[in-house]
């Protein structure tokens, strides 16, 4: 193999598994260390700059970081990264004086933002400090988009949402709430220099062809619409027996909300096997904890109505069968269809994009699935002044993805409005700084605790079910937060190897608790992976290969389960190994520092 080019910042970026997996590339280990140091405000600001809604995301994020967490490959569970983010939000001081402000004299450019969800708000946060005049449109009375309409208050209190949206809106922008944008052409005809579309994926899937759908219509609701109606207090009760169709996170929010609005017998019924449901494992757990059974392998057959009134649903039992390629088909078991009596049904089987307000002759190209044709890096559409982000760009994802899109779209819009090429973007910023303080002394806590993952305490179940606005999770207290923060392996503190300093004494090989380090003859990667002290079977993790050493061998380190404990550097007599903190920052239009 060729020597690893550690000057390519993407190499070490990939070693920081959590940050690499995060769509917004939040510097996770850095903020976790700050939490351990009780510097909650600093931890919050690192988050705020990167993901804009730390308080919201600390409660609701899909957490792509946690399955990626290296700790999960070393012991049973990853670090509770998401809930530590909430700790930063819960215990921070007033941050007003740390926020950027919009200049009083504007730069003369006007940008329209369609939809006031996380993507648009991120664009607003990035462009306002640069002096842009921002016009933000939303059909609802308040900003927040699906963060407000779809996420129930018992998971995300309104105060938290209002606070973090407030930081952005307070930078000064023109808000057009209760204003549904019904024509892109009309918008383009105004004097906007650019338009950002962050209108989400607003259409919930239905089962229009199922028998009884029309007859039972009064008692059958589309999940996301029903949740929005609850959030905006148009709906405040539900029948005693409720069936929720679907296996995603929306289904989990629907069933738990139903439990709080008077639903006593609430069931989730899903086509797929339990293990393959789209909902996050923790959301399924939360639903089950609230006494909601999840019935798997049941495909809806019909809505059963009597006298124009919905009385139940009939299902066909199936079992999942997989072909050689692992493709799943649901094969009927041949059992009698099952009837589940119910008063109401919530359909939460997915959502789709819809752009009824974009005219065919507006100058935008769409693909065969009705999605806008975009440059995936710049988010620019085929109409050069229109940019997309969030769910409206590439289909339904999540908040953190919308934020990541928003940052990049803001960079594009800024370049575009400056008359520059949107493809010529600044590289992400990074730094690599030695952490050595003295003998046995590093500026990070390199001890590796064996503590297991801490559990977030919950409010007592009975009171939780009585009040849909009572937040269920209590969050970590400071002491538990510290213990959880200490579980972080500091993967951003990199093992940096300088080959011309190495005397090949083997001290690092002998001390490494995880057998990551090898000194062997070089060969091609597949062979090399098989020849290491412990075979490098995790292909998603790179091998760090040095240049030729004096004996003709090379140093090969398997990054997979490195604990970043620093013992290799500790035992190195010549400082050929050093522990250096790698800090990686995504390119943004208006960085804080």
């Amino acid at each position: 193999m060729k020597p690893t080019d550690i000057k390519d910042q993407e190499y070490f970026h990939k070693v920081v598994d959590c940050q690499y997996a995060c769509p917004a590339h939040t510097p996770v280990p850095e903020y976790i260390r700050l939490i351990a140091q009780e510097r909650y405000t600093d931890a919050y600001m690192i988050n705020w700059e990167s993901n804009v809604f730390p308080g919201v995301l600390g409660r609701t994020c899909d957490r792509p970081c946690e399955p990626a967490c290296r700790r999960g490959r070393v012991e049973s569970e990853p670090v509770a990264i998401c809930r530590l983010k909430r700790v930063a939000a819960d215990f921070k001081d007033d941050i007003q004086d740390r926020l950027p402000s919009a200049p009083s004299s504007k730069n003369g450019r006007k940008v329209a933002l369609v939809g006031a969800g996380p993507a648009s708000l991120t664009v607003a946060r990035d462009l306002a400090p640069l002096g842009y005049e921002l016009h933000i449109y939303d059909e609802q009375a308040k900003a927040g988009g699906f963060m407000r309409s779809q996420i129930p208050s018992f998971r995300l209190p309104e105060t938290v949402l209002d606070e973090e949206i407030g930081y952005i809106l307070n930078m000064g922008m023109v808000t057009h709430f209760n204003h549904y944008v019904d024509s892109l052409k009309a918008l383009l005809n105004q004097d906007y220099d650019a338009v950002f579309v962050g209108s989400g994926a607003p259409r919930g899937r239905d089962l229009p062809k199922l028998d009884g759908r029309q007859e039972g219509d009064k008692s059958i609701h589309i999940g996301i619409d029903w949740l929005a109606n609850v959030a905006f207090e148009h709906i405040n009760k539900v029948g005693k027996r409720v069936i929720v169709l679907g296996g995603g996170n929306t289904a989990m929010d629907c069933c738990r909300t139903a439990r709080r609005l008077g639903g006593e017998d609430v069931k989730v019924i899903v086509r797929s096997p339990f293990e393959e449901m789209k909902a996050s494992a923790w959301e399924k757990e939360d639903a089950i904890h609230e006494g909601i059974p999840i019935v798997e392998n049941h495909v809806p057959l019909e809505f059963v109505c009597e006298g124009g009134k919905l009385v139940g649903m009939r299902f066909e039992k199936v079992s999942a069968v997989y072909d050689d390629d692992g493709k799943r088909s649901l094969i009927p078991t041949g059992d009698e269809p099952v009837l589940y009596p119910c008063d109401e049904v919530l359909v939460a089987i997915g959502q789709e994009n819809a752009f009824p307000w974009i005219e065919e002759d507006a100058g935008l190209e769409f693909d065969e699935w009705g999605m806008p044709i975009l440059n995936p890096e710049t988010f620019q559409s085929s109409c050069d002044k229109v940019f997309f982000g969030g769910d409206s760009a590439f289909g339904p994802e999540n908040i953190i993805t919308a934020v990541a899109h928003g940052h990049q779209a803001a960079v594009s819009i800024d370049l575009f409005c400056e008359g520059k090429n949107v493809n010529e973007r600044l590289e992400p910023g990074s730094s690599l700084i030695s952490q050595k303080m003295g003998i046995h002394e590093w500026s990070y806590d390199n001890d590796v605790t064996t503590d297991l993952r801490k559990v977030v305490p919950l409010v007592e179940l009975t009171s939780a079910l009585q009040n849909r606005k009572l937040e269920v999770e209590l969050g970590f207290d400071v002491k538990t937060a510290f213990a959880e923060a200490e579980r972080c392996l500091n993967c951003d503190v990199q093992t940096v190897f300088t080959d011309n300093k190495c005397i090949e004494c083997d001290a690092c090989v002998d001390i490494c608790p995880m057998d990551c380090i090898n000194f062997i003859g070089n060969s091609e990667e597949p062979e090399l992976r098989q020849q290491l002290r412990v075979k490098a079977n995790n292909q998603t993790q790179d091998l760090y290969v040095s240049g030729d050493l004096n004996t003709g061998r090379v140093m090969v380190k398997d990054e997979d389960v490195c604990l970043h404990c620093g013992l290799c550097a500790e035992r190195c007599p010549t400082a050929a190994w050093d522990m250096q903190q790698f800090y990686y920052e995504v390119t943004k239009a208006a960085p804080l520092s």
Binding site: R73, V74, E75, M437, H440, E441, W442, D445, N446, D447, V448, T450, I503, E504, C505, D506, A507, V509, D510, I511, P513, M514, D515, C516, V534, K535, N537, N550, T551, V561, L563, C565, L567, E570, R571, C572, P573, T574
Partner: protein, 350 residues
């Protein structure tokens, strides 16, 4: 700030016949200087014992005084250990071995501990063919007392202080050969591929097994003028050949060129294969070993690898005809055989 070894190990760490991983053979974290050759030797012992599937509680580690003699703390933390008086490891090992012949004895010593203060003890334990691995961690200096030249330091070699050593060195391997050692090898801490099979063979040998391991002292004797530095040893090393250790009942897989290999079957049935560089070397011939060592020395090179082996030797127990069981397993009837036995003995002396 911390200096602890984390508890975690690689989740895919291989296991041996006992179901143990290398972790079960580790000891406390080393307090020697970073980069000390001795730590590599400890790691090689760990690996060898793991590969041999030795039960750690059936091993006794015995040492004297010095950097080398501290190292038994850093391997086999679940074994017996005795850190004895300077140079007196052989006496303690002899006593322990005579009391319990069922254990595996690993004696660790240094060049000072063996070639100076313990020279007399060394000579006699070799003569007696005590069944043990006697491993010398040879760095040519007294690392624990600021790096003075030791008795194995080559003439003219200079450590960190810069003064060349004026005295002739003691070569523990040639000395052991003269004194009748039944297993003699030399190795280098920086060459685990060679060292690990040698340790496995030495542990499997029933008799006295000496491995003299050159182990650079990074702090005092790793200079450009020293003949025991990493660089000098790497530049001047020669090997008798590649040693393979094949445990009992394992098929011999390697394909050797005929005429250049020598195969030795040990008492326990395991096999040592030496893929020789020099056709003239005969592992069963002391003279051949001595000649090979001296030939290399004349060329300014250090001969490593397996040098001599007598697999059919009698160890101390056999020579003096001791009881076959460990003393702790002898019951009252065996220990006090009664007046009839005493009479028989008395009669035999008349």
């Amino acid at each position: 700030m911390t200096y602890h070894r984390p508890e975690f190990r690689h989740p895919e760490l291989p296991t041996n016949e006992l179901g143990y991983t290398r972790k079960h053979y580790e000891g406390a974290i080393s307090t020697l200087c970073a980069g000390c050759g001795h730590d590599s030797i400890s790691a090689a012992i760990i690996q060898a014992c793991f590969e041999l599937s030795i039960e750690p509680h059936n091993v006794a580690k015995i040492s004297g005084i010095g950097c080398s003699s501290k190292t038994p703390t850093y391997f086999l933390g679940n074994s017996h250990g005795f850190n004895s008086v300077h140079g007196r490891m052989p006496s303690v090992a002899t006593g322990a071995n005579l009391a319990n012949r069922d254990l595996t004895y690993i004696g660790v010593s240094g060049d000072g501990d063996s070639a100076s203060i313990g020279m007399g003890q060394f000579a006699h334990v070799v003569r007696r063919n005590l069944n043990m691995l006697y491993l010398v961690e040879n760095n040519g200096c007294y690392g624990l007392t600021k790096g003075q030249d030791s008795a194995t330091s080559d003439i003219g070699s200079a450590g960190k202080k810069g003064t060349p050593n004026p005295f002739e060195p003691i070569d523990l391997c040639t000395l052991a050969l003269e004194l009748g050692a039944t297993f003699v090898a030399r190795s280098f801490s920086g060459d685990k591929d060679q060292l690990i099979p040698l340790i496995k063979a030495a542990i499997s040998h029933s008799g006295f097994a000496l491995i003299d391991v050159i182990s650079p002292c990074v702090t005092f004797n790793n200079t450009a003028t020293s003949t025991k530095s990493y660089e000098f040893v790497r530049d001047h090393i020669d090997a008798t050949g590649k040693t393979d250790f094949i445990p009992v009942q394992q098929e011999i897989m390697a394909d050797y060129e005929p005429g250049f290999t020598q195969e030795v079957t040990l008492h326990d049935g395991s096999v040592i294969h030496l893929y020789k560089k020099d056709e003239d070397l005969d592992l069963h011939n002391r003279l051949s070993a001595l000649q090979a060592i001296h030939k290399c020395k004349e060329k300014g090179e250090i001969l490593t690898g397996l040098l001599y082996l007598d697999p059919d030797c009698e160890d101390l127990h056999e020579i003096v005809g001791t009881v076959e069981k460990p003393l702790r397993d002898l019951d009252e009837a065996a220990l006090c055989p009664g007046s009839k036995s005493l009479d028989a003995i008395n009669q035999s002396l008349r």
